[in-house]
């Protein structure tokens, strides 16, 4: 079971993981990561303002093909029985899930590593733009979120040469 989708409405990541588990009875484990909009302070490196909303925009011709290509690469690299990648676009609010990556595998390391691999690539994917609406003393203002050095270091761990972005 491979379920790769871009979503423009709220979703239940736990249901997605449950569906994957039900569809992969041969799996020895399901590894799942859910990224959500941080409630409270923005990234400490970006300041201490409260995040009121997050907006994810994307370049549609690349988004779903890029996510499918990422899933194919994860399946080639790790011994997977199933993989779910769900990613929101549009305006989200604190607590809303942004992304869910769930991998079913016979042995735990493949599933955990596949989720880690997919998340590192999604964080640096060239087709998403993320900005936060932060409360300020002069009213809420939008702030674009640029990749951090840590994001580049994370993706470099996988040792891919000339990998698609």
């Amino acid at each position: 079971m491979f379920d790769i989708r871009v979503l423009d409405a709220p979703f239940d990541p736990h249901a997605a993981a449950d569906d994957l588990a039900a569809a992969t009875p041969g799996a020895g484990g399901i590894a799942t990561f859910v990224g959500k909009v941080r409630a409270g302070d923005a990234d400490p490196e970006e300041g201490k303002e409260i995040v009121e909303a997050l907006e994810l925009s994307h370049y549609e011709p690349l988004t779903l093909p890029g996510m499918r290509d990422l899933a194919d690469r994860a399946a080639e690299r790790f011994d997977l029985i199933g993989l779910v990648i769900l990613h929101r676009i549009g305006r989200l609010h604190p607590g809303d899930p942004i992304v869910c990556v769930s991998a079913a595998s016979r042995h735990r390391r493949d599933g955990i590593a596949a989720v880690d691999f997919c998340m590192d690539h999604l964080k640096s994917a060239a087709w998403f733009w993320k900005r936060e609406l932060r409360a300020g003393k002069d009213g809420p203002t939008w702030h674009w979120i640029e990749p951090r050095g840590q994001d580049h270091a994370d993706i470099a761990r996988w040792g891919e040469k000339d990998a698609p972005v």
């Binding site: 990224g35 093909p65 999604l122 087709w127 994001d151 698609p164």
Partner: protein, 64 residues
Amino acid sequence: MESCEAPAPLDWAGLLQIVTPSVAQQLRDEQVYVACAGRVLADKTALNAQDGDEVALLPPVSGG
């Protein structure tokens, strides 16, 4: 998102000429990617857009 049309074929030097100087400067940043016909170019300086291709300039981003 802004868009414009340019005569084909369009290569890297041609792209730098049709955008504003500030955009051209940003395009040279290694964190800025270029996509052509639905694929991100591993080497953006090898751009070779043909008639009908959509060329996208992709700024530094953070998803997930």
